[in-house]
Amino acid sequence: MITCKALPRRTFLRGMGTAAIGLPFLEAMAPAFAATTKPPVRMAFFYVPNGMIMDGWNPSYEGKLQDLPRTLKSLAPYKDDILQLGNLTHNTGRALLDGAGDHGRCCGSYLTGIQVKKSLVDIKNGVSFDQIVANEIGKQTRFPSLELGMEDARQAGDCDSGYACAYTNNLAWRSETQPLPPILDPRALFERMFGKGLPMTPEERARQSKYRRSILDFVTEDTHKLEATLGPTDKRKLDEYLSSIREVERQIERAEGDNKQIDPKMDKPYGIPADFAEHFRMMSNMMAIAFQADQTRIITFLMTREGSSRPYRELGIPDGHHPLTHHRNQADLIEKVRQINEYHVQQFASFVEKMKSTKEGDGTLLDNCMLVYGAGLSDPNAHLHEDLPTIIVGKGGNYFKTGRRVIARRETPMCNLFLTMMDRMGVPVDNFGDSTGKLEGLNLA
């Protein structure tokens, strides 16, 4: 049915001052006769630490993606949506006379393109490019950006050879001195996204818990009102969407219950599950919802902190990740790092699957995204900052010619990719960080 009055894009289901749930793109939101309304372009960064075993990452060919190398195998179903990029370099991650500390530098400068100041207290970086975009377009969404992660958000202390933990534990920087620490706790993220924008007070949480109510219960009235105005397609879409929120909520409740059983004294927030994959699933489900409901168009996600020494016992690997990456070419250590690399990509692939299966407009949510997955080091054993492992998944709004491996000239600044992405986000700039121009050869034209 075509109506003359469209549902505003930023409609929320609200209830009792506690809940505010954004909505996915519904047909009812398209202005009358405006069949050409384009969904917004979103971007996300998935950063993995400690580099990559590169022969498992880089295909041996250029051009159309065929057989994916081992680490990327789990993304094979989506290879037509992937741009695999070669030779991108972060010179500002290198020592440049500052001595040891590649982990601190590579993460600190990853989205800023700035040589960070080597210090534990007098931290100095630049504004990350995601925040430049957020400053320009952030007013159009509930959250200008979301900063998320899964490990250790502490900011103080020495995390690498004299580099403050602020450099290894954050991707996004609002100013030269102000990083944006990632949210690690799914419960905190859930409440931020579907509550009043802030974590609940203990009293509010207790009240909700006492009656074992879902956040959806608070918005029942608004939901019924909205449903009455929707066509059958929109009704189905809304139902699926609200079900996905409920599922996330259940996951969090389960995790909280499990954590209490495992160790009542554990210092993790109760919403953080012990299981890595489960943690990722919860965070990524909410990321998908955030993009679907246009709550934000910018997400940065620190899979684990740079230099992470997390063991992966779920893979039978009790050794810490970072020590393993100093493998000294020992085959058994390299194999373990490969398994960790693969495991991380498998988690990411599950998110890609969700984005790909979510319809938006004439295509999928993935079509309108630029999901960058990569690391700030390539070969971790040598601490290399060139040919950084980088893929973009999604077409960035029918822009990227995906399904290819594109290799830039050696030493091409990573910031050139950022310039191209800023353009796609509607925030064109002449230069950023150490850029030398936009990254060419990625688009359909």
Partner: protein, 340 residues
Amino acid sequence: MQFGRGGKPSAGAFFDTDFATIDTYLAQALLHGLQGKNDCRVAIVTMSRPNLAVAGFADAVERYYRGPAGNFAQVPPMGMRTEGAPGETPVGVTAPFQKPGPDGKPLHVNKVRTVIDTGDPNTLFRNYLQAQNDQNAFFVLAGPATNLAAALAFRGMKELITAKIKYLVVDGSERNIKADVAAAKKVFAEWPTPVILSGSEIGNSVLFPGASLDKEFAATTPDHPVAELYRSWKTPAYDAPSGAMAAALHAGRPKEGYFKVSEAGTITVQDDGRTTFAAMAGGKHQHLIADPAQKEKILKAYVELTSAKPVMPQRFRPPVAADKAADKDPLLDKPEAAKP
């Protein structure tokens, strides 16, 4: 970090050329010879014409001197301009790749197959200048000034050059200046550091002895790729003018007295490519003056340095020490970071 512990490093050498004469290839070898004597560190080599075959050869020379890439000892990319004409390709540049070693495999491997195997000169200048200590690097220009003129227009480069570069030595052979007069004018007018010109007469005053191929090269570096190229350049190997080598030698050993140096002044490039020098106190320019008394000393240096055995760069972390260093990595010594 550009080198290991203790002491000031030798100066970083930036070599830009068109690799159009055998002299320019010898100059690349000479700079590495100087590196072997700890007189400089070859930071980056860039080329001012888009010729992949030549870039591949020059890259192989870098690999010959730097050894296989490994931990903390990487071979930097060849810089190559992508605009303009590719120019002539010397017939000998592919010969080293066909020469088998004792195991039957090629002695040298061509790693430059397409333009993506090279780097943009401006980006390389910028990246490698940032890794130098202040006033502890020099440029040698032995070809058209095209790349250096472009660098002067690159964002932030003038400031970087001012901070890092002590001087630029130019092989001002007539063909080099005339190949891009506008660029030469710009470089002499705008280059922010002192500039020393080595005129055509310098290169012609001492000819590199072709006979050294069968003597010094054959004795010390029989598989030297530049020697291979030299043999194919002309038959029999001739005595070559040495303008590029003179510029490189003076840049690496400015106090050795191989050449006299003029008083300060200003060099101006005329429209027809001629250069004129006007003495002026406080001027940024000087030019080299041939000193016949030094001829034998120069010849000896040329031959010794170009034919010297490669001295592999000092690794930041030598193999054994690397293990120990890894064990002492502050990240590895943080048990709290290993918590799940």
